[in-house]
Amino acid sequence: MKKLSTRRRHPLAAFAVLTLALAFAGALYAALVSPSASADSGGTSLAAQIQQGKLLYVSSCSSCHGMNVEGTSLGPSLIGTGSASVDFQMSTGRMPAQQFGAQIQAKPNPYTPEQIDDIAAYVQSLGGGPVIPSASQYATESTEVALGGVLFRTNCTACHNFSGEGGALSDGKFAPPLTQTAPINIYEAMLTGPQNMPVFNDQVLSPKDKQAIISYIVADRNSPNPGGAGLGRLGPVSEGLFLWTVVLAILLLLAVWIAAHTTKASAERVAQAAAAKSKSEK
């Protein structure tokens, strides 16, 4: 003990104590509250799932949405938003939000599906709301593509572009591209209207219509570009930009290259030719 007390005035003592304290706090967090510490919830009862979800909620979501899901100035109340909303926001990585801005953006999702299901079950237990769709609801149906196209053009193209490439909204907000979005997430987005997207609830857009729209998006995503490179499938804008920048630059360089290469003979060759001529004349 004496040894320790003599060392406490060492210049590095404060750093050593701080490092130890941080390591201890980190270990405690990893052991008790981090998402990866509680992945063993598969196959449990609904009550246990909700209990597990509540723990995860408190550790991952409560700082913005409040300890009792009542909402704070940083995030809205989640009561009544339903499990579909939780699954959409978390499985696309939008929640927990990394930073505030014009729009919360998608990012890699650090949670396991079981953990998201637990939190979803917890939020669902509080006030109901749209539930996570079953796999059969968002399974693509090749016979529904034509109807899906009509519905997609009526409801979705204004923001998400005619081939689902996304587009800009006001003040830095944007409609994200649908080219990578999982069918279940497309379904949940229509059902819950995340951020500035309008809600397309089942009464105004039936589950069958939603399935048709998903079928169309997936069919369109997988369809080839018969005309050549898609160039982002943005139509004449990107095609014109390509022509006026890349192709025009190539043509200009070609013109410069032609003019820069002389066809004139070098003085040496002229002299050689003159010598050969005089030789042959002799």
């Binding site: 006001s170 609830n201 009464q203 003979a265």
Partner: protein, 360 residues
Amino acid sequence: MSDEMKHSDELAHSGHGDDHGHGAVALHDDPFADPGLPEHHVRLTDIDEKAAKRAERQVAILFAISALSAIGFCVAYTEIPINKIYDFFPLGQVGASNLVLGALLGLSLFSMGAGAVYWARTLMTDVEFPQERHHLESDPVTKAEAIAEFQQGVADSGFTSRPLIRRTLIGAMAVLPLPALWILRDLGPLPQQALRSTAWTAGELIINDNTVSLDGTTGQGIKPADITIGSLVSARPQAALSAGDDFNDMMIKSAILLVRMDPADIHSQQERDWGVDGIVAFSKICTHVGCPVSLYEQQTHHMLCPCHQSTFDLTNDGRVIFGPAARSLPQLPITVNSDGYLVAVSDFTVPVGPSFWERG
């Protein structure tokens, strides 16, 4: 300056060139003298017959490539199935027919042009020579002859001596452009009052676009409870289901959007009164140039037009808050009928869509 003059100038200069030292200051050079042509350099193909032969062959090869590509185009057009899809790196999945046709036609045109350029640069003569302009003015004899001929023609035709013919001809030519003006005046029936009214009338059922069958003849109405807060529904009048050939003419004016907001979010009392429990109906036709507005931000209640980003505030009578649109988005007054479905109270109270000349 003609050649003769130039030569005489040069002679004069060279003649006085030896007179230095006599006190007179001779102009050494005419500052405006024609600098003449630069020294001619010969090309390799001019002095080396082998090089010339090689260039000739290269031009011929380019022309042959052009011809072969054009023939290849014809073959590809008939031989490659139009629906054949290949994975071309780095383009991805593309139609083989389109790609090959474009590449071959491009190669054909490019080889033709490249051959012509190469021919001109290597083999066509590149000796510079001046080509003098001739005088534009005719000599006096020719001018006098032409004037005499013209006057003889005028006299022979009787144009001056027979004023009746002259005047009727001038009159007829003045009337001749009239048919062009006449048909321009009447390029179809005038719109009359058609731009001022739409298919919406009192009690007209609002049909949810999403429930309309693919043939457009059946569809279902909407009940207020169907629409949750934050929803956006495109809708049409029931009359559109039986419009037949008039469908486009009808929908271009009558397409609407329904949104539901918290009534407390709506700033305008009239807008609240024209809606049902926060459900409000607005024209879908932008007041700028008539694009369908349907970019709805459900948190800000801004409705954007995809064409020119006109932005309408749906909490405040559809007022323009950004963009080129000059007028608010017209609101359709709606209510609930005895069956519980949403219906129009009346037509729009102002003309929908872009402004027009006689709108007032």
